[in-house]
């Protein structure tokens, strides 16, 4: 798993490559929690390089969404492959997250 952060104005784009599962989720969670300490309001998650997300990864996405809701912030996700899209659909996450195909669309909606 590789984790990269990039700032674009007041938006933080995080790019996670590999998989978010039991073995890697703690590390991802730590990084995102650190981001919230910077008073982040706009977060975009780039899934282009992600193979899959297990329920331990979904827990982190949900934590980020709840945190940003509390702070009147926004979160968008883009670049999901078919498997991740299905994971989100089956979990009912499609209805609570703003999901886009491309980075451009996603950032426009932040």
């Amino acid at each position: 798993m590789e984790y990269l952060e990039q700032k674009q104005g007041d938006i933080v784009i995080i790019n996670i490559t590999g998989k978010i599962d039991t073995a890697t989720s703690n590390e991802v969670e730590k990084k995102i929690v650190q981001l919230f300490e910077t008073n982040l309001k706009k977060l975009a998650i780039d899934c282009t390089g992600l193979s899959y997300i297990s329920s331990s990864g979904l827990r982190i996405f949900l934590m980020a969404l709840k945190q940003l809701n509390k702070m009147q912030g926004k979160i968008v996700i883009f670049g999901m492959n078919d498997l991740i899209k299905e994971v989100f659909e089956v979990s009912g996450f499609t209805s609570i997250f703003k999901i886009f195909e491309t980075k451009e669309e996603a950032l426009k909606n932040l």
Binding site: K19, A23, Y52, S54, S56, L58, N69, E86, V90
Partner: protein
Amino acid sequence: MKIRIKNEKSELVKILKINESFGQKCGFPKKLIDTFNLCFDELINNIINYGYNDNLLHEINVKFSFKNEFIIIIIEDDAMQFNPWNVIKPDITLSANDRNIGGLGVHLVKSFMDKVDYKFKNGKNIITLKKKYNPSTEEIK
């Protein structure tokens, strides 16, 4: 193919790697290999983390086979008796703030597999997963 792992967290990575190389050798599409990895992550992690109340080493056996267009995976362990398919399905219609993640892992496995089964026999939990796979009609991704 049979894989034997210990009930240690580090062993999960081993099974994911074996699944990947076995899947590639069999010509499975990447999505299918990742789907199995997802299922292993959910189920075996539960067994290792919650299945044992002693500090002893135990074996978890995983077997792959093919029958009538189905890939069959059997996970066998001597952990406490536990039928994962009895876990209550989480309410996936709640708003984000009312959501809880409990039970979602098992729900994902059930959704991605075509058939699932559980038996407790001779002191062992036996979980069976079946996924339909026909290489001639499957789109290679």
